[in-house]
Amino acid sequence: MLVERYQRRVVGVALAVVHNQDDAIELAQETFVRAYENLSKFESRSSFSTWLYRIAANLAIDFWRREGRHVVLHGEDADDEIRRLPTSQGDSFKEVSRIELSARLKQALEELTPEHRAVILLREVEGMSYDEISDVLQCPRGTVMSRLHYARTRLRNILKDVAAS
């Protein structure tokens, strides 16, 4: 069945944005309903899976904005934020215990904007290429790269602080 084939990754895309499992599952179900309703609008310019993930990402981002939980940074705002980051180098956070690290990671991810969280999770957890992320989130490849750089630098610094403490 089509749903079973794509459900895990659709949930993964939604989860990458909203970072809440219940919300992600609800949004993923809504994604399939929307896809069913709009199947006639699907054009084969992109693959069906990309189209499906794009619906999921849009629903999740809309949901996040509607909930108003975080301020969303775009374009130059995000780049400015990158420049303000401290440039810690060299140290690693390998010594942090796994449980503490997991909890801290979750918290650190929540501190990211949904756009930045989405790119890092779609890349690292879902294993999407930059082009796929660009298609799903409907932003240029360069934006994917800059968001990823910001997200990685930010997470690394947060986790490095934990390791240092």
């Binding site: 749903v3 459900q7 993923a28 180098q89 990671l105 490095k160």
Partner: protein, 194 residues
């Protein structure tokens, strides 16, 4: 270090193998002689592993059936509704044909069994002779009653207390008409309505 800042922007993409070939070579060349950038790259790699291991597998039991239930609750497009209506009608027509066939079979058996007695019932019914006779009897009684009533009237005083029916005419067995020309009277009898 200016070179580190520039290379630092590409480290993530290097880790993801998403750079052009010449950029990959440039970063690799820098990493060979820069410990801090090598450390950052190692941290990125560790971060990726930790993100993957921390990602909980979402509970998907019942997910697809929930989606199907939600789709079923959607208002259907007009064409789909018409198609469903026609399919239901086709189903009921099929069922009706089965019932009709059974009823026809029962009717045939009944006719075969009842044929020897059919003649006995042929003359019965609203137009039968018995019925007409009964109607005429009731009509005569009614005429007598009318005649008696007429006789009791002062203007119509007469020693003859019963009607002298000269002509009985009726085309309808449930309606009787009598004419009595000598008294210049016509009686129209209608049975009581149920």
């Amino acid at each position: 270090m200016a070179e580190c800042d520039e290379i630092g922007m590409m480290l993530g993409a290097f880790e993801d193998s998403e750079l052009e070939r010449n950029e990959m070579q440039e970063v690799a060349f820098h990493l060979a002689r820069c410990e801090s950038c090598t450390g950052i790259l190692a941290d990125y790699s560790t971060l990726g592993r930790n993100l993957r291991s921390a990602a909980a597998e979402p509970p998907l039991a019942g997910f697809s059936s929930a989606v199907v239930a939600r789709v079923d609750r959607l208002p259907q497009p007009v064409l789909t509704r018409i198609a469903r209506f026609l399919r239901r009608q086709a189903d009921s027509v099929g069922s009706g044909l089965a019932w009709g066939g059974a009823a026809a079979a029962i009717a045939v058996v009944t006719v075969i069994l009842m044929t020897p007695y059919a003649e006995q019932f042929a003359d019965r019914g609203p137009h039968s002779a018995t019925s007409i006779a009964k109607t005429e009897h009731e009509a005569a009684t009614a005429v007598n009653q009318v005649a008696e009533a007429t006789a009791s009237e002062p203007t119509m005083a007469d020693n003859n207390s019963h009607a002298d029916i000269s002509r009985l005419e009726s085309e309808n067995h449930s309606v009787a008409v009598w004419s009595e020309p000598r008294r210049d009277t016509t009686v129209i009898w209608l049975p009581d309505q149920p």
